[in-house]
Amino acid sequence: MARQRKRPEPGEAELSMTPMIDVVFQLLIYFVVTNKPVDVITNLDVFRPAPDRSAPKDTPPPNLVRLGVYKDGYTVNEVAATLPVLDQALARLAALDASQTIMITVSSFSEHGQLIKALDLCAKNGLTSLSIVSAAN
């Protein structure tokens, strides 16, 4: 609000800024007090292959990495693994080729949090081509 004034005129009413500043401070305090920190949410992308009825049910190609999520733990290419071992295995795989497809087989009895942990490790190692298959057992 640049206001140029060459000479003050007598009897001019000045605009008092004090009440406005008071109100602005009130608002500021209100927002600072009521402001709640928000959780940062991330979205983990997956690809879900459509069941292809015409495709023969043969074994998946050998270069496909198979990750299993079960109620009591994880497997990498059918070998049982804990989370740190899984992390190391995924880091090795990502170093070879980060664009390779990881096929994640999830047991119906596992908890959703376990799948998220596995997907988190994939995201950590830069593996983005993730395919999710649900197993009945």
Binding site: R3, E12, I41, T42, S108, S110, H112, L119, I132, S134
Partner: protein, 141 residues
């Protein structure tokens, strides 16, 4: 706000009241609408932590967020849905915004995968293939 004055004319003070009114209206509008976004999420769903997940800069406005609580109950925007209703909503989303409409599944950390699978299968039946799982990157302290 430059103001020119002629020397001999009486000074007309600018009235601040309408401006303050408008500013307050804007503040009230933003405060109420900002809250709506948070209220749409089901607070009973405790999401799993994924500290390494990517952060989305721009959210696709077509996104459909499906909540699945720990007992497998499905809801969208806090509205409980049966499987058929969810399928109808997803088909509707596919018809209006296309096959690439992203579906975000917000599952509880203890939700059984069988319940998540039901939602994923319904997405498949509706013809939506862009699935994502919501997780917590950082928990607010």
């Amino acid at each position: 706000m430059a103001r020119r004055r002629r020397n001999q004319q009486p000074d007309a003070e600018m009235d601040m009241t309408p401006m303050i009114d408008v500013v307050f209206q804007l503040i009230i509008f933003f405060v109420t609408t900002a809250d709506l976004q948070a209220k749409a999420l089901d607070t009973s769903v405790r999401m799993a932590m994924a500290p390494n997940g990517p952060v989305e800069e721009v959210k696709d406005p077509r996104t459909v967020t499906v909540d699945v609580d720990k007992d497998g109950r499905i809801s969208i925007m806090r509205t409980p849905l049966t499987e058929n209703q969810l399928l109808g909503a997803l088909v509707n989303a596919r018809n209006t915004s296309g096959q690439s409409t992203p579906v975000v599944i917000r599952g509880d950390v203890t939700t059984s995968h069988a319940d998540i699978k039901r939602v994923m299968d319904l997405c498949g039946r509706a013809g939506l293939w862009k699935l994502r799982f919501a997780a917590l990157k950082e928990k607010a302290s």
